[in-house]
Assembly symmetry: D2
């Protein structure tokens, strides 16, 4: 379970409190505010705060004095236009703040996105909880033979069982030694000093869970989601991106639709690929050999134009 009863109670208490505001309000997201969406075996994503809504994008694009909005249809058209032509600054005018619990190796991928604000739980000051990511059996994949960074078939039988057992056992051992090194709390041994927290943590494995507050504007969130909700992203970060996509849909439904049409479902064709498509549309039978494209670029084109 990702949260304790005490934490659930704190969250419930905060959800109870409503106040009056003159700011833009996103009703669907309000409904979901603070509630954790479970991700992986012990992780979650929950929205802590947000600023702006679809109308705020329009308002910024028009630098307007009031709400700036005209009609939903007009707004949808403008937002779609802004997205398609990569006018990014109006989307930067919306901001969202998440609380995320995630394995450290996922956190290390995530943090490469630098245009966000992060405040992470510190293992220098505090003691990490005993929670580790252990993949579900259907995610225990072999190395892909065709793709250096992808996954192949799911492991089975003895091999799968041994991997799962080993991941669990090594994590248990590491955490147990971490606690003994710290030598804190009721079970502490008064004969020993205990190792500094900032040192003891180094014995923990990369699948230990950490957590952080992560705050980002909508433009940079879309950039993050375009990369991390992509099928090429590692499964363990993609599930976070997918959960966040749902919150974006609740928050700014028009921008979400524009994102799906113009980014998630879109494809960029190189100059060489465009030339091939033109020849095809003119009726020419083009093969990889006659295309002038490398095998890889040719197959990437096929993935776009073939159903």
């Amino acid at each position: 379970m990702p949260i304790t009863p005490e934490q659930a109670a704190e969250i419930a208490a905060q959800r109870e409190v409503t106040q009056s505001t003159r700011r833009a309000v996103a009703p669907e997201l309000e409904e979901a505010l603070y509630t954790p969406i479970e991700v992986l075996d012990h992780g979650f994503v929950r929205v802590i705060d947000y600023m702006g809504d679809d109308a705020a994008i329009v308002q910024a694009a028009r630098v307007s004095y009031g709400r700036g909005t005209k009609s939903v249809q007009n707004d949808a058209g403008l937002i779609n236009y802004l997205m398609r032509h990569r006018h990014s600054t109006p989307f930067e005018m919306c901001e969202i703040k998440y609380h995320v619990k995630l394995p450290v190796f996922v956190a290390r991928q995530w943090i490469r996105h630098r245009t966000a604000n992060v405040n992470e739980y510190s293992a220098r000051y505090s003691i990490l909880d005993k929670e580790f990511y252990i993949p579900a059996p259907d995610q225990l994949a072999a190395q892909s033979v065709s793709n250096r960074q992808g996954r192949g078939d799911v492991l089975e039988g003895e091999e799968a069982a041994w991997v799962l057992d080993t991941l669990k056992a090594d994590a248990e051992t590491a955490y147990s030694h971490y606690e003994t090194m710290l030598n804190e709390g009721e079970n502490g041994d008064s004969e020993r000093q205990g190792l500094a927290r900032e040192l003891a943590r180094m014995n923990l494995p990369l699948n230990v869970y950490t957590q952080w507050y992560w705050k980002v504007d909508l433009h940079n969130l879309f950039h993050f989601l375009a990369l991390r909700a992509d099928p090429h992203a590692q499964y363990e970060i993609r599930v976070y991106a997918e959960a966040m996509l749902e919150t974006v849909k609740q928050w700014v439904p028009l921008a979400y639709d524009a994102f799906v049409d113009n980014r998630l479902g879109a494809a960029e064709l190189t100059a060489g690929q465009i030339a091939v498509v033109r020849r095809m549309l003119a009726g020419e039978e083009v093969t990889q050999e006659t295309s002038g494209l490398s095998k890889r670029v040719w197959s990437e084109l096929q993935a776009v134009i073939a159903e």
Copy 2:
């Protein structure tokens, strides 16, 4: 007057609407929301939206599940500690969005602060209003003789009158020619094509007003305010910074107090200056000659330690 009756009506209408939210609310800032604070002769600053409050800083620092706050005194102490030790990430968890109307030469200074989101009114798409900054007589200062970037005495008599008249007349002429070049609207001459907006604007002077939405997190806002509310900042940007300081006080009063004590009223002493202060406190009579400091560094020290 910085805004038209139509704009005032739009603002009033938006202030009328209140909704219920589960998010953190800053009551004093809600009171002031959307209302323009007049700055210079035609400019303003107004808060359009905000995210978080003092408790959100504490909440982020603790990566907590609920409000995170314990008592106002505890919160004040923690915020003060975070500010003094430059733990900047919890302050980044608050965000504010302004609508600002300002002269172009002020906008050019302002935009050097890169860690903010900006959406400016476009003179490629739209026609700029006929509004120019003309300094008040008490701000019509001579070049400082002692400081290459400062102002000296206020101009008087004929010189002052000529400068003011000339600034006004040149702006009038430039704007009149801008309109004629554009050749748009009712008074347009059907014999002429009219120059593209993106070209005609180049005839306008640097004191023409522009406007933008400017969104920033609290840490970077404090950095901006520390530089721009400083006495060495140019008067025409300092008055904007001072107006914004008031909104920060309404928004996050504990962080505001910590900022005033630890930044605005603080001073950084160099290693050499610290050595001199130690000698003085040990009872030694130190002069610039015996201090080992350059004249400039010595006088900067005097400004800190002498009342």
Copy 3:
């Protein structure tokens, strides 16, 4: 002429000095180093310094100990792959520094790109030169009737003559008053104090020239060039982007080729546009009406697939 004989002599003197280095060297760019490329009537771009070359991109991608490079063909393939799949960090490992002289209204567009380092000539400390951008007659375009941000036909006859004369005359007047307000130098009037530089500058028009040092990594430079070398960019900034493209070709020829194929000549198709292309390739006759696309999105597709 964009530079004075004294400046030309300084540049020539700096070009004379060569030293030995262990760093990566880009021979073609060395040949061009420091020399101004003229842009517009008084502007220029010149490369002041650079870090890295094509091999440095490869080296970073491989986190290698030595040069990292295998063969030119391998390197070209890897760079092309990195560009196509938007692996941006290896390109960030190259850096370039320009000295640019440009009109203020162009500088204001340029500075919106925030991921660069800028040091601009300060009109608070220094006096701006008497140089203004006056468009060449073939760039004196009318507002486009079809496109709110574009240019239409070139102005002709009396209208063109009047615009050019007015731009020149207004700039002359403004600069003359600027000088009188400053009241500095040999022709200063001892009866007057002179207005502070930071104030007097506000009388200058937006086509006055400024200059700055601008330093950026290759990834962000490509992002800048993709937007500003695009036909939709305003002519007056596009000519700078085109001059810089030439320097990139001299500096990192493999990355330049990858950029031309995968960015400059590429096109992004939306999910809706891809669906239409698939129907067309399957032999269906698709019109705008049957496409499900809006007129604008349909015509944008035509621009990609029709020659």
Copy 4:
């Protein structure tokens, strides 16, 4: 040993090659270029490339056409002034690129500095080496009793021995299981598929070594070093900062001196602390009780003014 003989040979080969350049050259840093400085038990820092020198800072501050430099004394004074008054943009005009090998838990602290370019060795694509950080006995410290984030006394006797043995044994076990899960190479078992690299890595502990290319401008490097060469920084990152400080001294000696005087050895006094110093200098005997400062702020003042 941090590098293999093959890597040493690659480095030596690259150091052999010198070429002619027109760019600014920093002779002392050239001498050290590419050579690893050993840090911790298996880590290193080495300079891969750099852009600019002390004169480049001056040149940028003056937006000059040639070298911009006048005399070493003038340059030193200007650089000192720029540093003291936090004119950061001229320092941003210098850039340096490092290759760093470091434990993952150090990398996680380091990456919080977002204003740098990073390219890390990928454990999704590649196999990590069998190298773990094991503290030297004199760094095996207890948790501080007075400071939540600091270290106390060094562990001794049996406790120390047990911690070191356990850190080593757990790392050995984890790596051995990592290799078995991967099932790659000569010793691979053909009966098993092998787990994907992106999954198997999660079994490794946080003291495993990773490596990256890290590129940063001089202003942001100084910010990093001010925080990480500080006595409050964790020892394991501080030793990297200290090694990098040496490279800065070789690269830009004048900026280095200004940094030591105005940052590293400097102290910021709060408004309240300044008031106390003034009272002391006026001859008053001030105690914590009469100071109006909290105990913590008082003791921080003592640390500045007492020798």
